[in-house]
Symmetry: C3
Subunit: 406 residues, 3 copies
């Protein structure tokens, strides 16, 4: 009874806090059209989409949807019991992320200006939080989950601010800031909260096989349908968008086939289970996060997706046991294999592609994908080094934040 009321009280407190903070700080941005944006305000992100009203409008929906796509992804493993908590996390994290991100990006004259753009950024953060919860699901109670969300949103925003705004890293599909960050944050929390015994949860998992498959099917379809637009919404131009969406599709298709190749070899099953296919789908997406808009040829996307699809089941088979026994990290949903490894792969691929980026292959798109390079204020090598250095920085921040939270 006490723990029940503690959750209830915490929710009440946080909601009242949010309402007060919103009342004091948040206002709708005076005009959503960039021409009316006050010059002091950082409108650079908003500007990217200007003249392209429709996608920005849809952005918002698609992002939230994808937070839920991830949610459904975890449901595939844990059944509807965890859905209620996930929705609680989403409902709180979105409000909180709008506030925290507002302080970093849209702060002016003591007010935060809220628009569709801030909702999109908040959704990205919420996605990272959901990935992290995947690592600790079943071992922390809802109150701890809420506190985790509270802290992670802050650290995640800080990481995003340093990478994207200060360093000028291109990470349109958020391989680093969402996938890698979320995965390693969750893993560090899991490490700190290490408990040797967790048999109870496993039985529950077995019981729910029927629903698990239903959710996995629905989740996979959701992701196939909407993730390509997710990857592409954050890119600049209609043209580049198409490339990002197509690259993601090819990556998805290749990583799904890769699962069918490895699964019979590793697990001695003729056909992989739906949950494995869903994992492959997620891995194929995570790898395309950064590189999606940079790849110039479709076969590159096929190879990247293929590799991601191979890494993910191999990680489950050989890496998760090592993690568990040696490093004492319990990874309930396998976020390391699904989001962590492909995210790192995607970041390395993005670095490689940045090195190869020349005005010849990119043409007009160079200006859009790497504006600093096109202006001549940064060389190819500099940009590649910056992209590369973003990886350890993200890992460091995620690890520190995770330890702290744990």
């Amino acid at each position: 009874a006490a723990s029940r009321l503690r959750l209830s009280g915490l929710c009440f407190l946080l909601q009242i806090l949010n309402i007060l903070l919103f009342a004091v700080f948040a206002r709708y941005s005076p005009e959503s059209s960039p021409s009316h944006c006050p010059p002091q305000l950082d409108c650079s992100q908003t500007n990217q989409d200007s003249g392209f009203q429709q996608p920005r409008f849809w952005d918002v929906h698609i992002q939230v949807l994808l937070s839920f796509g991830l949610l459904v992804a975890f449901l595939g493993r844990y059944g509807p019991g965890s859905a209620a908590i996930s929705i609680l996390i989403v409902a709180f994290a979105i409000q909180w992320a709008v506030l925290v991100q507002g302080f970093f990006h849209f702060f002016l004259n003591g007010k935060i200006y809220v628009g569709a753009q801030s909702m999109v950024s908040a959704d990205f953060c919420t996605a990272a939080v959901l990935i992290s919860t995947g690592a600790v699901l079943g071992r922390v109670n809802p109150v701890q989950m809420l506190l985790l969300a509270l802290l992670e949103v802050t650290v995640c925003t800080l990481n995003e601010y340093i990478l994207l705004s200060l360093m000028g890293v291109r990470d349109s599909g958020r391989s680093l800031t969402v996938h890698t960050f979320g995965a390693y944050f969750g893993l560090m929390v899991s490490r700190v909260l290490y408990q040797p015994h967790q048999d109870k949860r496993k039985r529950e998992e077995q019981q729910d096989m029927g629903h698990q498959t239903v959710f996995a099917v629905v989740g996979t379809i959701y992701l196939w349908i909407f993730w390509p637009s997710f990857t592409s919404t954050a890119t600049v131009l209609d043209n580049a968008e198409n490339w990002a969406a197509l690259n993601t599709y090819f990556s998805l298709a290749a990583s799904t086939l890769a699962t069918f190749i490895l699964s019979p070899v590793l697990y001695e099953e003729s056909i992989p289970r739906m949950v494995q296919i869903q994992d492959a789908t997620l891995a194929g997406m995570a790898v395309m996060g950064m590189a999606g808009e940079m790849l110039v040829t479709p076969f590159g996307a096929l190879i990247a997706g293929f590799l991601a699809g191979l890494i993910s089941p191999l990680g489950f088979r050989f890496f998760t046991p090592v993690l568990r026994s040696r490093l004492k990290i319990q990874d309930t949903c396998g976020v390391h294999n699904i989001h962590g490894l492909p995210g790192i792969l995607g970041a390395l691929l993005g670095t490689l592609l940045t090195l190869l980026a020349t005005a010849d292959t990119y043409g007009d798109r160079l200006e859009l994908v790497f504006p600093l390079m096109a202006q001549g204020s940064r060389t190819v090598t500099d940009q590649a080094l910056i992209q590369l250095s973003a990886l350890p920085l993200t890992l460091l921040l995620a690890a520190l934040g995770g330890c702290l939270t744990g």
Copy 2:
């Protein structure tokens, strides 16, 4: 066997009737672009969206989808057995609503001109019918359901015509014309058809717990994804749209948190069931119906959603038993708590906001949200009175129509 054939025969009759009426009256509008709209035809509604092709195109899909979102919402309570009847109701109500609404809005030279706009209006009506059926589900047979749809579409269209066209009430998200009307119409029908015994249905409900949760999860996700666009499609400008969508999101998030606050207190469960979360989501939407485009600050949306999220479970706990024992109204799906009360709250909020609306806070948007006030032909107080008077009028029409139908 006789009742089976009666349903079959009624469907046949109604479909043939529809085909004949369509053959005699309905034509596609000559051009969907407003410039070609003949001056005698009431193109005002179409004009609102002009120059913004894409949303109008998507409108249609989103609306039908939402009729189904509601459908899924009820499925959460009654299992797939009732899905077939709901789809029958939707399939019939859409055809019929296009006809009836056409007579009110798009009638010219003895012909109805059908376009995307009429499909959207028809979808709104269908949503109201689905809400009403929620109140009587399990106690009327399909034939009665069809007759209910037949009559309710007519009364609903009449109500909409009086409120929106004659009185100039702003109700973009249809707090009044869909949510409140649908809920009280259904409740009156339920009152007239009062039967003391209904034990059989309850057992069936228990049996279907597994599917219930699955449907509730899917339904909640659907609503989160698509309702904000629903609220915003009927508003005027891209800018106003963004506000409406954002307001709805904040309202949703707050009302979900409110459920987590109240549920442990009221039901002694640590985590609310998915069906309760879905109810809170619906309540958070219903309250934003009218006020969505009028709210100028995000914290207002948070407070409104928070209140709606609190009212709905309290209503279930304390109000539904009173309704049942004193007023002899059986409310199978709790539409009074989910749609009725939040709808009234939303209408009152809309009135309050209209009173507070000044040119200062709204700026250019005043012209879009309250065109009559901006033109000076109506004062703030007049508009607020009209908004307020729309509430009892809707209740009256819903009650009368419900009695008649019952």
Copy 3:
């Protein structure tokens, strides 16, 4: 074990082959805007959508989604066990179709230029493959399925190329090239692979009733929401699009009612099962494929949908047993009734409407729907004859291809 490894090996081989072929041939189209399209390249299809960026962008998503809509449709009958194979088929068929279609449509200087348009065409092909697999599901193993996809994509592309590019047949919703072709291809394969005994599968079907209903509900809703846009994306203008979408809606509503009329008469059930409603929905769609953009009056769509909704259950009742006993064709999912017959009906309706098409009734739209007729290079009768002759040609190609594959 051998068969497991054979599947794994085949997947590996095909994926490597795809990567190699993409590496050699496929490049992204230099600019997605048609103005930059090199004159030697066949840009006619791309041109159709020019100036209308948004739909083309969404096209891609909606199409893949619909491939999955169909997938879910079959899931309704076979449970999640077959979902994994279907997703494998989709993942492979999309890659392969992009290649094969590229050779026919976008081949220039030894390179295929891949864009959003090619992805859309590939999705159409994948949909046809999924329909075909519906006829043989449960009787072929995954390896055979992959080979079927390999061959069918090739024949389907050939058929599409002959009909749409060489003969100038209008088939925007692909009544012929997707529905009819897919159904009869699958039936011929089924004929060749005829096995007298298949009792095992039936039991499994019974077992899965619960999930079946869940999937049928979700599938029906998916189709209602997204199919109208599917039909309309391939048409030319915003205006024509609206007509196609509205026609499809009316057709859907009428065919659903028709199921409620026939089902009590044929099966002695008071309410049709969800799977039957889903079949009616699919039939109502297939019939609108070709005629969707040609119908000038809403009541035409109602009648067509009504007929399709009547044909489909009648086919199940009287035609499937004949097929099985006389022609020795086993049609596991009833694709003949759902896709085959309504597709033929749609093609005949399209021919009739072409005959009736005059400049009077169509106005400006004539130029868009039948560009060759508007230019005067083809008479009404010629176009109608061509539309009609496309039907036996499609049947012939489907039958030949099916035999060969079997």
